[in-house]
């Protein structure tokens, strides 16, 4: 956290005000993020609890009134990588060499999933989209959670994930294509034909 080297000397009351007023309101988003990362409710609970304890411990490196949600999400993401990912031994499948290539490739306008239509989405009651999201590799899942579920801006995502904005964009692009592939598989299995719009 290069921009947070400055330490703030908060009084006990200020600490509690920040914690209750700026940190705790994000508990549901944090829990959802934790759950989407770990795919387990108990792990999510532990992860969120852990994150909030760390947030309190390092509260003096948080500048009151700034982006608490992004700050908390970054701690949670780091805790997940350091504590949980190791445990599950899940290797990252994101090919970091490849992330920038879509900007240069000739076929960027090729429609990857021409068979996926807006109509076929209408009958997805929630499980399908949720399962499709959960099936993505965690790095791809994460950018979709941050962008589409939580509405973070590219710049905030870059800070949360410690990656350049260009990588945020390209990873998001690939993540969405993978998600569409999954969704079109579901759509196909639900019996949708290639009907005209």
């Amino acid at each position: 956290m290069e921009e947070t080297i400055t330490r703030n000397n908060y009084s006990e009351k200020e600490k509690n005000d920040i914690f209750n007023g700026e940190f705790l309101p994000h508990i549901n988003s944090m829990y959802n993020f934790g759950f989407r990362l770990t795919l387990d409710r108990d792990d999510a609970k532990d992860l969120v609890q852990d994150t909030y304890l760390k947030a309190y411990r390092f509260i003096e490196s948080f500048q009151k009134g700034t982006n608490a949600k992004a700050w908390l999400f970054r701690i949670l993401k780091n805790s997940f990588i350091n504590d949980y990912r190791k445990k599950t031994k899940e290797p990252s499948k994101v090919d970091y060499q490849e992330v920038e290539t879509y900007y240069n490739s000739e076929d960027v306008n090729r429609q990857i999933t021409p068979d996926l239509r807006v109509e076929s989405l209408k009958d997805m009651i929630g499980d399908e989209i949720s399962n499709a999201l959960n099936s993505l590799d965690v790095d791809f899942r994460t950018v979709i959670i941050l962008c589409d579920l939580e509405g973070f801006k590219y710049e905030e995502m870059a800070k949360i994930l410690d990656i350049p904005i260009g990588t945020v964009r390209s990873r998001l692009h690939r993540a969405r294509n993978l998600l569409k592939e999954k969704l079109s598989e579901y759509a196909k299995s639900m019996g949708y034909k290639n009907t005209e719009l």
Binding site: N28, D148, L172
Partner: protein, 89 residues
Amino acid sequence: MTPPNNPFIQADGKKPTCMEMLQVIIDGEATNEQQEYFKNHMDRCLPCFKSYDLDMAIKRLLKTKCCGSDAPTDLVEQIKMQISQNTPS
């Protein structure tokens, strides 16, 4: 009638692809100028026109269907308890 400048062109002068423009629009990162430009572009570009609806629909679906897991009710209490135990007052 082509607009004089594509506001999506970055400092390096590289022409953006449809996908790149669409992504900026979908994610609400576009400037007013870029939105205006893309609206015109979409009228002439069928792939963008189709992708726009689909991408927006997926984004909405994700937001409404994948955000529902509220934290367990006792979580906040547990966190507060842990903190008060760890901070001698």
